[in-house]
């Protein structure tokens, strides 16, 4: 399933690069909820999350050549782009105002079309489970710094101050977490 879906993504991307709006719509259907969930988790604000997802999809449409299949899967490329833009929004917002909403208050996604829900579940839910399991295998201290950086958009200096641990420790734990996740996710089927 995962291999086939990866191939489907590549085919959709190929069609997208040729200007096929249908391929764009299909990629939106596949990834919009995941991208929005991630953007909301990182930014904590619906409007910011909307902007992040909007910009990510528009960037994909405008320059599909930004994705290079030699450097990874489409899924990781796109979600990495969404995350990066989300963190960028957080940094800007930190300068402008305090965050007032939390993603934890959101309702879980509910697809209106059961067939669509099954299609997406088959594509992403298996990998989601693997990634979540991999996270649980990290030592708690490593997981904590990784989640503060990734989901809260905090800098290593901010993490050091909040946890009252040396900056060097934050760096060490971050690297250990990334290496372990890399290994675990490469091992996963």
């Amino acid at each position: 399933m995962a291999v086939q879906d990866t191939a489907d993504d590549l085919e959709l991307h190929r069609r997208l690069a040729a200007g096929d709006r249908g391929a764009f719509d299909e990629l939106y259907r596949r990834y919009a909820a995941q991208a929005y969930g991630l953007a909301y988790r990182v930014t904590g604000q619906q409007m910011l999350a909307q902007d992040v997802v909007h910009d990510a999809f528009m960037a994909l449409w405008r320059a599909p050549e930004a994705f290079d299949a030699r450097r990874g899967s489409f899924r990781t490329f796109f979600l990495s782009m969404v995350h990066h833009r989300g963190v960028d929004q957080v940094r800007r917002e930190q300068r402008l105002r305090a965050r007032t909403e939390k993603a934890a208050n959101l309702d879980p996604v509910e697809d209106e079309d059961p067939a669509d829900a099954v299609a997406e579940a088959g594509y992403l839910s298996v990998r989601r489970k693997e990634v979540r399991e991999a996270l649980t295998e990290l030592p708690a201290a490593q997981r904590q710094v990784l989640e503060m950086a990734y989901f809260d958009g905090k800098t290593q200096v901010q993490i050091s101050e909040e946890l009252q641990i040396p900056l060097g420790t934050v760096k060490t734990r971050t690297l250990a977490a990334m290496r372990k996740l890399r290994s675990l996710l490469e091992e996963a089927p």
Partner: protein, 237 residues
């Protein structure tokens, strides 16, 4: 001899976007001076980027607001077309060494002395100024799409000028960044963008009203500029 554990530590923080101050500067140096020629580091960088993508799956999927897709579709409109409806008179940038009009792009003027390209690499002080412009309420900010550079277009509130700012990674030997303007689906080569690595800002001497969006590519220096294609032109690691 580089300490690869230390390098990996920087790369891990870099892909998470969590570096600041001296660490960010050190990472920029690493990406500029070492990573392009180091297969190990390039592989690590790609792998860590992959991890940041996979971590996105940990977040619960959430249906986006129903207004989002119509908003995107409105912009998609008739295809890969204008992003902004820019207004106001175009202003010729002071200090232009030469005024050159390229096919398909009206109002392009070269800033660099000698006409080497359409962009001017700004100083660190200017970079901070562009950063401040970004945060002004009436500024327009949009992504610049690129395989290797993570950049944004910044238009100040009066929309008379255009900047490109972001993090430009070091390229492999013999490769250079190239800047294209896209209007109505047609790509026009504006010139080389650089030299640039790390967090930088460029002033792009082009009337913002004449361009839909900008694209940055990496291409062999020796090759003639070509319309960006669907695959990266950067050499494989």
């Amino acid at each position: 001899m580089i300490d690869h554990d230390a390098a990996d530590e920087l790369l891990a923080g870099y892909v998470l976007g969590s570096l600041t101050g001296p660490d960010a500067e050190e990472a920029d140096r690493l990406l500029t001076e070492h990573v392009p020629d180091c297969l190990t580091c390039r592989s690590t960088l790609d792998a860590f980027r992959g991890v940041t993508g996979e971590l996105g799956l940990v977040a619960d999927p959430v249906s986006p607001p129903e207004t989002l897709l119509p908003r995107i579709e409105r912009e998609l409109g008739g295809g890969r077309r204008r992003r902004f409806q820019r207004g106001g008179p175009a202003r010729v940038v002071a200090g232009a060494a030469a005024a050159v009009v390229l096919m398909g792009v009206v109002g392009l003027s070269l800033l660099n002395e000698g006409g080497a390209g359409p962009s001017q690499l700004l100083t660190k002080a200017d970079l901070a100024q562009v950063n401040r412009l970004k945060d002004q309420p009436d500024s327009q900010v949009a992504p610049v799409t690129s395989t290797v550079a993570d950049a944004q277009e910044v238009e100040p509130p009066d929309h008379s000028e255009l900047y490109v700012m972001g993090t430009f990674e070091a390229l492999g030997p013999g490769y250079t960044y190239r800047l294209y303007a896209v209007r109505d689906g047609a790509y026009t080569y504006l010139g080389p963008l650089g030299p640039a690595t790390g967090p930088v800002a460029f002033h792009v001497a082009i009337d913002p009203a004449t361009v839909d969006y900008l694209v940055v590519t990496s291409e062999p220096e020796a090759s003639p500029p070509s319309q960006p294609v669907s695959q990266s032109t950067q050499p494989a690691a």
